[in-house]
Symmetry: none
Subunit: 175 residues, 4 copies
């Protein structure tokens, strides 16, 4: 009934465990591939019990999904910054900087990029969810951009967002 003040402590500890699992799992997935990585191996390397993975992510696919969402997010944040830092730059410059951010990300994460792409494009049902996630974020950004005058208002956010998401992925693939 009366939650003691240990709640923030517990939540922090839970988040730590979660992040530890995400990091360890990403390393292993990149190193040996998703299917060849055993959940028991992830747990051991993260210093927790197998059950903890299922407590946090539901199943192995859920863990993959969480990792991809995280990565998609970190790519997205970089691209978004470009548009926020240069609200009045001409479109052609924005496009160039957008591409540069993605290429820079790919170069900084040479090991991770192919893994993300492998799953983001086909292969696994989780892929579609990730693209949808990217699209949603970009769409929201476009709407805000339109509201604040950065984007033209005669473009349809859903279409533009899907186009940009795919462009980002294709860029990563062929960088």
């Amino acid at each position: 009934m009366e939650p003691q003040t240990d709640l923030p402590v517990r939540q922090a500890s839970k988040l730590e465990t979660r992040n530890s699992l995400l990091q360890v799992a990403l390393e292993l997935f990149v190193e040996k591939g998703f299917e060849a990585t055993r959940t028991s191996e992830i747990a051991q390397k993260a210093g927790v019990a197998v059950g903890t993975i299922y407590l946090h992510f539901g199943d192995k696919d859920g863990l993959l999904s969480a990792i991809l969402v995280n990565l998609a997010d970190s790519i997205y944040i970089r691209v978004k910054e470009v548009y926020e830092k240069h609200p009045s730059a001409p479109p052609e410059n924005l496009a160039r900087m957008h591409i540069e951010q993605i290429i820079q990300y790919a170069e900084e994460n040479q090991k991770i990029a192919p893994f993300v792409l492998d799953y983001a494009l086909s292969r696994h049902p989780v892929g579609a969810k990730i693209i949808d996630f990217m699209v949603c974020q970009i769409e929201e950004n476009i709407r805000q951009g339109q509201a604040s005058g950065i984007y033209r208002t005669d473009i349809l956010p859903p279409l533009a967002a899907r186009a940009e998401a795919h462009m980002n992925l294709v860029l990563l693939t062929h960088w």
Copy 2:
């Protein structure tokens, strides 16, 4: 009792079965990945029993290996033709044509290339075997080239062969 003329027929049929398995397996490996493809699925699609796969390739890795050897071979044949068709071309031209062949192969087989690389470059113990196979072929070719005067005789075939094999793979990766 047993008609001798049956043997060639049998052997032809055996080769047919083998090729059918190689083709079906490649399709499935490219589509869903090696680990996610079931041997039973391959057998079913090829219209044979599971046991037949083991008869021809020993185990699942043997099947993967045979596929990769086949692919490496087909890439190698193309490159070899360049050197054979232009026995006296200047080295810089040969190098350019070499690269062009590889890129052309990658473009003709966009689906297959990433799969080959995934396994040739790491991930799976079969990869090392494949590179060794490529190296052996190239080395042999270099020796013959030296014998017939196409190659300079002051280069060490083993080293040169390994260099070329890796160059081919790197080219495919970044085409």
Copy 3:
């Protein structure tokens, strides 16, 4: 390509394995309940490997389902014989003999009856399938009975079948 004459032998052996599993599983389910019975236990008692259960029945529920279908079938066969042996008996006599068969079955299988009912009525998704199976069989029988003049033609087979199936179960429950 040329299936040897060992096919009937194999099929017979497969059927034997299947029946052995059905029998052993029924015993264990009756003794300790479905959920408390381990698949490994069934396999061991039947003298096969765990995998064999999954080869034959897909999963544990599939095994339960197959058992219930078998039992429903054996009850149904008895009841059907009543109607076939006395094609021209007055309806009230048929109804009495119908009930007697069910009660006799319940008495002969005192251990099994409660188990069947537990699952045929609610609790488990497999239950609905079993009732549907009973209904289908009875419905077919009614149609044939109508065609050959045993049943009146002004009753709707689907409704009558569902009514009879539930009557049979209720009889078993309260015998």
Copy 4:
């Protein structure tokens, strides 16, 4: 430091929690069976943490046991009232009223009765404990009855008690 008047409040709250757990658990056990009911589900429906169940009942079997004891008790109380209200009724009348009470209970709790029987009669080690509990209570009652002249003194309480307990259960089974 710690107000004494807090204790009764705490204890009342504790009893509330306990009863809430007993009620919620009975509902779920009846609905889905003991083994298919998760402790986490019980806790959630009762609005407490999982740990609380273990605080009150030791383990899941302890919870089942407490429920069965409760139910056995409520059946027993009814039967006892018969003998208390009619201290000098002839034995044949007492027996009839005894049976009527049990049947009435079964009718009032149609959902619960099969569940109680399932566990009281076999299946689970807890069953034996419950029967022992019933026997003890009945035995004690018989002794008191003998002391106050209601029962004849030439019957052996332990045997009579066990006979009555089983009669009650058999009645419930075939009501």
